[in-house]
């Protein structure tokens, strides 16, 4: 008998009739998540993201590129150059004009398995797919070409989020998660709420223990 068989033999036999009944009963407990007016939604998101330690810059979509170049002390930058939003925002032109930036790494140009190569970049930019208002979290890892390390290795992570993509709570993100977490979907989807933090020493909050010490959310209004 294989370990697997032995493992399952120790569990009670499956009763499919009871399972259907129990599953239906449980589904009855889950109600449709409440909707919130979109005006308060954005304010709530900003409040919660700030509470989680993120800095939120609200700007018009046309100012996005110049805003981050002006406001952030970027020397080395990591991004996915083919992102449609970045192209639309004119990010490359704006970044190209900025002499302070010494090095721009396109995520797409990094060969398979060489993610560690861009450990030197002090800032990274990615596009968040959703914002969760009741926790200030960003849903990342879904955008085309985005990889896991972009939002992880740099000292500062800058995430673009369209104000239209804010939902009230995690329950509202369920359909998207269900559609994305599939065999051919991304191997990692990450919810990010604020910068990397720890309170392991006397419960004193310290940011940037392993991941980025700062998270800036550039909130784009259409």
């Amino acid at each position: 008998m294989s370990t697997r068989e032995a493992f399952f033999r120790r569990l009670p036999m499956d009763d499919s009739e009871r399972l259907t009944k129990d599953e239906t009963a449980l589904r009855g407990l889950f109600t449709e998540p409440n909707q919130i007016a979109s005006s308060t939604l954005v304010d709530r998101f900003v409040e919660m993201a700030t509470h989680a330690g993120a800095r939120v810059l609200r700007c018009d979509i046309h100012q996005a590129a110049s805003t981050i170049v002006e406001q952030l002390g970027i020397r080395g930058l990591l991004l996915y150059a083919d992102d449609e939003l970045f192209r639309r925002l004119g990010m490359y032109e704006a970044l190209g004009r900025c002499t302070a930036i010494e090095r721009i790494v396109n995520v797409a140009s990094i060969p398979r398995g060489r993610a560690r190569d861009f450990d030197g970049a002090n800032a990274s930019i990615s596009v968040a797919r959703l914002g969760i208002a009741n926790s200030g979290a960003l849903l990342t890892g879904i955008s085309e070409g985005e990889n896991r390390s972009v939002s992880l290795l740099a000292d500062e992570h800058i995430a673009f989020l369209a104000a239209d993509d804010i939902v009230p709570s995690l329950a509202h993100a369920v359909p998207l998660l269900r559609n994305t977490a599939k065999p051919d979907g991304p191997s990692a989807i990450t919810l990010i709420a604020g910068p990397s933090k720890t309170a392991d020493i006397e419960k004193v909050l310290v940011t940037g223990v392993h991941g980025p010490a700062a998270l800036t959310i550039v909130l784009l209004s259409a």
Partner: protein, 470 residues
């Protein structure tokens, strides 16, 4: 010597005696858990229907545990479809063998580990070190505990028993860095040391907070980013999970994520929640080449069949029960001698360590019920502790003196006249037992005052009262 008494559950009485008068330790613990509790109270009030959420969470877990074979098989097939490799381990030894084999097969020398209670439970790090594999804990608290050669004293805040001065001394001694007790500077030292390890490591090991049956996804919750690092940078990732970690679907995951961070640390959501579905996909340029998921029984199927223990499998390891426990708050996690301390630890440790070794643990509770009241998934912890005491006694894990006394009490209580007579004898003898008239019981009286024995019995007083009113 910091720990002259080995941290094992069979040493609980000695471990408690060593700590119970340590006011420094008690201060460290109380300060830390009170912060968590205050923050928790703030964010739980986000929801008007927290109690309803607890009921739903309880119902979700009941469904999964009642039909565990079904959901495990579903999880397995979906995870495999997404490119993960699933292993089943009946006990700690099997799990260690699987993990060790995986690392040796890929010639792994350096392992980065993110915080996981399940790997503590199976003493994985020790087994790997014995096989010549360097295994570095990367969660700051776990790193501190590993440097000190200890085990975690709290399931979400492993180094909670240490203050900054103690940690500063530890770092300067073990890492040869100048002494500092500034938490920010200490964290930076750890960041630098560990970032190098992440870049070099062959294998990453983590636990699993939730496993989603519908998609074969594992969910890892953390604040530091070390779990993301160890599941992203090394070429192989191994996730070890207890088989009870399953959730049916994403609706349940959304509910549990809202509750876990709030209950554990008073956060609405922890900084990072990773949802990992399979290994690196062909079009991706980072992530591990292989993802192994080791599903562990190690006594859990025994708990599942025991109606008194079944609900302990609902636990999401938030640690709220220890934060509120008056016993935990006085003695700290190490005094239990088990990697799982506090109320939930006292319920599950006798399964993992054996009844004989952990028999003291279910008694480390005042049965006040604060644990059951705060538990986000509604585990009746204090009832389970009481039921353990019953089991332990019926399995012969009690002292002869205790059994004799209970026999005597039973004999005495069976007839009213015997009870009255015994009471009368006790009242007559009490003043003779000591000068003050307060009886002393060996050991027990060392830390407690025996109640003064009244002159008249309750029955007598009641009768007199009735007569007065008549």
């Amino acid at each position: 010597m910091k720990h002259p008494i080995p941290l094992r559950p069979e040493n609980m009485h000695e471990l408690v005696a060593e700590r119970v008068h340590d006011m420094q330790l008690r201060g460290n613990i109380k300060r830390a858990v009170d912060i968590s509790l205050h923050k928790r109270a703030d964010v739980v009030s986000d929801f008007g229907d927290w109690e309803n959420m607890r009921k739903m969470a309880h119902a979700v877990k009941a469904l999964v545990i009642d039909h565990l074979a079904h959901y495990l098989a579903m999880f397995e097939s979906r995870a495999v479809a997404a490119g993960a490799i699933v292993h089943f381990a009946s006990d700690a030894e099997e799990a260690r063998t699987i993990v060790r084999g995986l690392i040796q097969d890929c010639n792994g020398r350096l392992v980065v580990k993110s915080k996981s209670m399940t790997t503590e439970e199976i003493e994985l790090t020790h087994a790997l070190e014995e096989a010549g594999i360097t295994c570095i804990e990367t969660d700051l608290g776990e790193y501190i505990v590993q440097l000190a050669g200890e085990i975690p004293s709290h399931i979400t805040a492993p180094a909670l028993h240490k203050n900054r001065r103690e940690i500063g001394l530890l770092f300067s001694e073990k890492l040869s860095v100048p002494y500092t007790d500034d938490p920010k500077e200490l964290s930076n030292i750890a960041r630098e040391k560990l970032r190098a390890a992440f870049m070099e490591a062959d294998v990453g090991i983590s636990g699993v907070n939730f496993a989603i049956a519908e998609s074969g996804t594992i969910c890892i919750v953390e604040n530091e980013g070390n779990a993301r690092m160890s599941s992203t940078l090394p070429r192989m990732h191994i996730a070890v999970m207890g088989m009870e970690k399953l959730l049916p679907d994403f609706e349940s995951l959304a509910l549990f994520l809202e509750m876990l961070g709030r209950s554990a640390t008073g956060q609405r959501l922890t900084a990072y929640t990773s949802l990992l579905t399979g290994a690196r996909k062909p079009e991706e340029n980072d992530g591990p080449e292989s993802l192994h998921i080791v599903i562990l029984d190690n006594g859990r199927s025994k708990m599942l069949r025991d109606p008194n223990l079944r609900e302990a499998l609902f636990c999401i390891r938030c640690g709220a029960c220890m934060n509120v426990c008056p016993v935990y708050r006085s003695i700290g996690g190490h005094a239990y001698g088990s990697v799982y301390p506090g109320p939930i630890g006292s319920v599950i440790s006798p399964i993992f360590h054996g009844e004989a070794r952990a028999k003291a643990m279910p008694y480390a509770s005042s049965l006040c019920g604060a644990c059951s009241e705060i538990c986000p998934v509604g585990i009746p912890l204090h009832h389970q502790l009481l039921s353990w005491r019953h089991t332990l006694v019926s399995h012969g894990h009690s002292r002869l003196s205790e059994r004799l006394l209970m026999r005597m009490f039973l004999f005495m209580s069976k007839r009213t006249w015997r009870y009255d007579l015994a009471g009368a004898i006790a009242r007559a003898l009490a003043p003779l037992l000591s000068e003050s008239g307060v009886p002393r019981v060996p050991v027990w009286s060392r830390t407690r005052d025996f109640p003064r024995i009244p002159k008249k019995s309750f029955k007598q007083l009641w009768k007199e009262r009735e007569n007065e009113h008549a």
